[in-house]
Amino acid sequence: MLEAQNLSKTYSGTPALHPLSLKIEPGEVYCLLGANGAGKTTTINLFLNFIEPTSGTALVNGLDVVQQPLESKRRLAYIPEQVMLYRNLTGLENLEYFTALGSTETFSKGQLLAFLDEAGLPAGAAEKRVSTYSKGMRQKVGIAIASAKGAKALLLDEPTSGLDPKASNEFSALLKRLSDGGAAILMATHDLFRAKETGTRVGIMKHGRMMAELRTEEFGHADLERVYLEHMHD
């Protein structure tokens, strides 16, 4: 479960995020929509405790991320727009490393390979060094890291940007599986179609402010686009 209570961030007088209250229950996929600079990444950074909130609290499974920075992070997984890996290690070694540091469970090599396979990494790539990987392949290792962690809360920062439609589709299927497994997911994205497909709720942000929240089941794709554009219109 992810929860923001009057969470805000101001950089030297300029608000990056106006007080935001948000609650994402297990099984929910909440999509943050909005132009660059709308406050999506700031929100995610606040949940990660990478930046300190100006006011309010961010909770992961009920743990205040400022008070319990390590414990709260152990309960979440994070996939950035560009999953960055150690170039001189293989995909498998990267997964092994991140999993060993992030998870209490230990996995066999077979299990780790299964995570990579499940994430859609081409067979045989797992044992190659990451310096030979494409962006999509790195993204898939990131997904494998997140699913191996078995986190109950996921923070995704434009995870599908730059992925081809097939990879993007596979990613959605995986998200579905994770949310069916009881994960609360917060995803920042530009992809309205993907938001409508995988999201249960959509929040439209602009200049650090939450403009509108919609349940995706109550809207068609065209409606979502219309509402979004209305809000983007100055």
């Binding site: 990478f50 390590l70 997984a77 950035p80 960055m84 150690y86 290690l89 991140f98 540091l101």
Partner: protein, 472 residues
């Protein structure tokens, strides 16, 4: 978890071409320095052994002559070279390794390689100590500066910290990973060096050397730990890798070049030593004029004569039951000894004060602490030089006294052909030197040991603190 971090850092480093090439270069330099040191040690040791034997043979077989001539003939005393001196030549190149023990004079040490060296050699002598004190820290800096900063720049740090890893634990893991990578370089070099030593040095010298080698190794490890920790600390808080590199090179230059040079100058300014010429002139002056300055050689001889005439109740030196010349020479010798004691004590006190300045300056640069420890364990520091010099001087005085008394008691005043031969020369025992033991040496290294440990602990604390402050 720590083991995982260590293993990953180690694996990454082993696969990094930069590590492989720089480690290979450092390894080659270290082994080269050890090999040169080893060759030098075995050569010099053999030469010393041969020279020691030959100086004794020369003494015994100098032929029949007056004992005073024998005292002038003199003997050489050779400072034994410890096996570990192959790692660290210390002050040996500057203070010399052999002394000529002759009548009337406490000689300066001879055979100082620094005298024969060209100016350029002084800068670049490649010894084990240079590699250990300067090049390996440089290698550590080059390997460690991007440890955190490049992870931040590449974005892996965000992902790493999103896992809920304690940053200090990451720092410890990286430190140990680098240590493991360095041990790939240092362990074989140390083993090779030890094997070469064990093969060439004699067993007695080796037995005494193992504990010293262990302390020396621990000292260098603490010194390396300082560089690893400080590099990680800077890398954690530096705004960029480039900044971290520049800052750490600054630390390296300050520690290795600026402080040692500045401290030598400061020590000389605070506690100036006379020039060799001035020193010799003062001694000559005091011997001529007496320590108090108005007691000339002639006056002293006249006083001695009057005293002896009175003591034996005779009216001329010819009637004395002892040889006046022998007594006079021994008196002159003892007067000279007083003069030498006065001047050499003062000189050595000045050197000791300079050394204390160097020792204290380790507060500004840990290299001075490790250098002091390293030299002392190698047996090439100034304290052990002075210890040997005193023993040699002691022997010189005994020898001269023996020669003079032989004249005083056995030479008839009119017997100008008085001589002694091999039988008598053999009654003067050979010069035997017992080098100070480890406890003696360690008691003089307390401050350096404490400062080295202090630097290591402080840098590790700084590393953990900097990692805790680290932002993504």
């Amino acid at each position: 978890m720590l083991a995982t971090i260590v293993r990953k850092e180690f694996t990454e480093m082993m696969r990094d071409g930069r590590f492989r090439s720089s480690a290979a270069i450092t390894m080659a330099l270290l082994l080269g320095a050890f090999a040169l040191g080893w060759q030098h040690y075995s050569e010099v040791n053999a030469q010393h052994e041969a020279a020691r034997k030959s100086t004794r043979q020369d003494w015994l077989h100098q032929g029949d002559k007056n004992p005073h001539s024998a005292a002038h003939y003199g003997v050489y005393a050779f400072k034994p070279k410890m096996p570990l001196s192959l790692v660290d030549h210390g002050v040996d190149p500057y203070v010399g390794v052999a002394s000529w023990l002759e009548a009337h004079k406490q000689n300066e040490f001879r055979f100082k390689p620094a005298q024969d060296a060209t100016a350029i050699q002084r800068l670049g002598e490649m010894t084990g100590a240079t590699v250990l004190q300067l090049l390996i820290p440089m290698l550590i800096v080059l390997l460690t500066f991007p440890a955190f900063s490049s992870e931040r720049e590449q974005g892996t740090l965000r992902q790493l910290l999103s896992l809920g890893v304690r940053p200090a634990q990451l720092a410890w893991g990286k430190a140990l990973g680098i240590a493991l990578a360095l041990s790939v370089l240092l362990v074989p070099a140390t083993l090779l060096g030890s094997a070469a030593l064990a093969l060439s040095a004699d067993q007695g010298a080796m037995a005494a050397s193992w504990p010293r080698a262990a302390i020396m190794a621990l000292g260098y490890l603490a010194y390396f730990a300082f560089f690893v920790a400080i590099s990680l600390a800077v890398s954690a808080v530096a705004p960029s890798s480039r900044f971290a590199l520049v800052a750490l090179l600054g630390v390296w230059i300050f520690n290795g070049l600026v402080v040692p040079k500045a401290v030598s100058d400061i020590a000389r300014l605070l506690h100036p030593t006379p020039s060799a010429m001035e020193f010799a002139r003062q001694i000559e002056h005091d011997i001529e004029n007496g320590i108090n300055g108005h007691d000339t050689t002639d006056q002293r001889a006249e006083e001695l004569k009057q005293r002896l005439l009175k003591q034996y109740n005779v009216d001329s030196v010819e009637k004395l039951p002892v040889n006046f010349n022998g007594i006079r020479m021994q008196e002159g010798e003892e007067h000279g000894n007083d003069v030498f004691d006065k001047h050499y004590t003062a000189l050595w006190q000045t050197f000791e004060r300079q050394r204390q300045v160097h020792e204290l300056a380790a507060l500004a640069a840990p290299v001075l602490a490790v250098r002091s420890l390293s030299m002392s364990m190698a047996g090439t520091d100034f304290a052990q030089h002075a210890h040997f010099a005193k023993a040699a001087e002691e022997y010189r005085r005994v020898l001269n006294r023996k020669m003079n008394l032989e004249i005083a008691h056995h030479q008839k005043p009119d017997d100008s052909g008085f001589t002694r031969g091999e039988d008598f020369w053999a009654t003067m025992p050979d010069f035997q030197y017992t080098a100070p033991d480890l406890a003696w040496i360690l008691s003089r290294q307390r401050l350096s040991l404490a400062l080295l440990a202090g630097w290591m602990v402080a840098s590790l604390v700084a590393m953990a603190a900097a990692a805790g402050k680290m932002r993504v």
